[in-house]
């Protein structure tokens, strides 16, 4: 079957920092409407991979394509315009602006560009979606931690991206917030959005991801459904070390 090219496709994607190979010849595809989990121990190159996809870092070698069109040589703003939106590992909001204006930034300049009332309506829709409809006019300095994460997510969604990259979006939440967070991402999944998420929270991975790629020291060591990869002995060894072997 040779249908449409996958929404996102990495082939041999590599990033070197001097002598250190942070991401080593990584291959994987993400199909439309799929939620792909990128997991692995600390320092295994997951966030670097997201940075390669979003253009924050350039690939040393390999290709990344969005619906068959190469994007790995583009600047971040061009990648964003083509439909890749992201959140950051450490939340980055626009401190001088209101919640609404933060989200409007995504609606005005993202993949699908809107302006004026249209942009404002879109920003409001996204805020409703993440459950912040009532706080649109608040300054971002007054938000709780999970609400700042919600704003960032709404901003990323506001441009109707083809692919959403979430960099440890659930990290640092307390147990109640975590349940809300997982429910929120599940809602996005049910809407049919294509998502790549870097995550440590195993519950979230099990309940959200269609498939996972497991990385260790920059290399892909397993790929499959969460059940498959989490049962893989090599994955267990990567996480727990192999001093008992």
């Amino acid at each position: 079957m040779t249908g449409a090219p996958p929404t996102l496709s990495l082939r041999g994607a590599t990033k070197r920092f001097g002598g250190l190979v942070a991401v080593n010849a990584l291959d994987f595809d993400v199909a439309e409407h799929e939620v792909m989990g990128l997991i692995g121990p600390n320092g295994s190159g997951k966030s670097t991979t997201l940075n390669l996809i979003s253009g924050a870092l350039g690939c040393t070698a390999g290709t990344i394509a969005l619906r068959g069109v190469p994007i790995h040589r583009l600047a971040p703003q061009d990648i964003a315009r083509r439909g890749v939106a992201r959140t950051f590992q450490l939340v980055r909001l626009l401190p001088s602006m209101s919640v609404l204006d933060n989200v409007r930034a995504g609606a005005v300049f993202g993949h699908r560009r809107r302006w004026g009332d249209d942009a404002e309506a879109q920003a409001m829709r996204m805020l409703e979606l993440v459950g912040l409809g009532r706080r649109a006019q608040a300054p971002v300095g007054q938000l709780t931690y999970i609400d700042t994460k919600r704003v960032e997510l709404a901003r990323a969604l506001a441009g109707d991206p083809k692919v959403l990259l979430l960099d440890e979006w659930l990290a640092g939440l307390n147990p109640t917030e975590l349940q809300e967070g997982i429910a929120l991402i599940r809602r996005l999944r049910d809407e049919g959005r294509t998502i790549v998420l870097v995550e440590h929270v195993m519950d979230a991975i099990r309940s959200l991801c269609d498939r996972c790629v497991v990385m260790s020291s920059g290399t892909k060591i397993a790929e499959g459904t969460p059940q498959q990869v989490l049962a893989d002995p090599e994955v267990i060894r990567a996480y727990l070390g192999d001093d008992d072997a």
Partner: protein
């Protein structure tokens, strides 16, 4: 951000219309103060259009101004006067584009350093060219009166305010506010940050060049040392920051008191101008980091808070 469009436009138009009556008073002293204020109003407002949101401190005003003066100086023999300021504007914008493309991708320090030397660079090149032609300066002999220069500057001020107002409500203005807050977020949201910064810097550069072109007839004789005086760049920075760059009307709040202050300083302490300019910089950094606008808003907030409690 307050977006009370119509009233502020009408208010600005009214103030400018009143200001336009000044030459009718007929006092040469007020006429000359008026020209200074109008000139610095344009220079600082256009400076703040770019430097306010982006926090890039431009010291290139003197370079643009000088290029504008020279445009009039060299063109006055060849072309009718009225087409020279627009040409100066185009040249200023082109120069700003070149400088911006080379430096605005990098951090603020590089930009400051580069713009600091830009006036000196252009000056050295002009002197070098003049060595071939053998001339030292240029005569700009026209029938343009002081009042006409003043009105032209007011017209330009109106244009700059209109441009600033329009930019403030445009995608470009929104993009710049995002860039000023977090450039990385801006890029990842799909904003071509380099292009936005260069575009605004071009507007700022064009305005300064037009001011230079308009003022050239006033000096009658222009030479590199006077047309590219670095002092101008510093004065513009001080006045704009003194007023505050967070609002379109902020810089002019700094221009008016500073023009009078400077007038007094240069007549009473002509030898200490450099020293006092330095003191002004220090006052801004240590006493008024957000300018008069910041001060006014802080007071207003305090009053509002007190009323809220009462």
């Amino acid at each position: 951000m307050i977006r009370s469009g119509g009233t502020s436009l009408a208010l600005t138009a009214l103030v400018l219309a009143l200001a336009a009556l000044l030459p009718l008073a007929g006092s040469p002293y007020w006429q000359s103060i008026g020209i200074s204020i109008a000139m610095f109003a344009v220079l600082t407002t256009s400076w703040a259009l770019f430097s306010g949101p982006t926090h890039y401190i431009s010291l290139a005003t003197a370079a643009f101004f000088g290029v504008g003066s020279y445009t009039t100086g060299m063109g006055i023999e060849l072309l009718p006067y009225w087409c020279l300021p627009p040409i100066a504007g185009v040249l200023g914008a082109a120069m700003a584009a070149l400088v911006g493309l080379a430096t605005l991708r990098l951090s603020g320090v590089y930009f400051v350093i580069f713009t600091l030397g830009l006036a000196e660079l252009v000056r050295q090149i002009i002197i070098w060219f003049q060595n071939f032609s053998g001339q030292k300066g240029l005569y700009v002999l026209t029938k343009i009166t002081e009042a006409q220069i003043y009105w032209q500057l007011l017209g330009l001020a109106a244009l700059v305010y209109l441009a600033g107002w329009a930019i403030g409500r445009s995608r470009l203005g929104f993009a710049l506010r995002i860039i000023g807050d977090d450039e990385q977020v801006a890029r990842h949201s799909g904003i071509n940050t380099a292009r936005a910064k260069v575009a605004l810097f071009m507007i700022s550069g064009a305005a300064a060049a037009v001011v230079g072109a308009i003022l050239a007839p006033r000096y009658v004789y222009i030479e590199p040392a006077t047309a590219f005086t670095p002092m101008l760049s510093f004065q513009v920075v001080i006045m704009a920051l003194l007023g505050g760059t967070g609002r379109l009307w902020g810089p002019v709040v700094g221009v008016i008191p500073f023009t009078f202050l400077w007038e007094a300083i240069s007549s009473s302490f002509p030898n200490q101008t450099t020293l006092l300019l330095g003191v002004c910089f220090l006052v801004i950094v240590y006493v008024l980091p957000r300018g008069f606008v910041g001060l006014i808003e802080a007071v207003r907030r305090r009053v509002a808070a007190r009323e809220g409690v009462a």
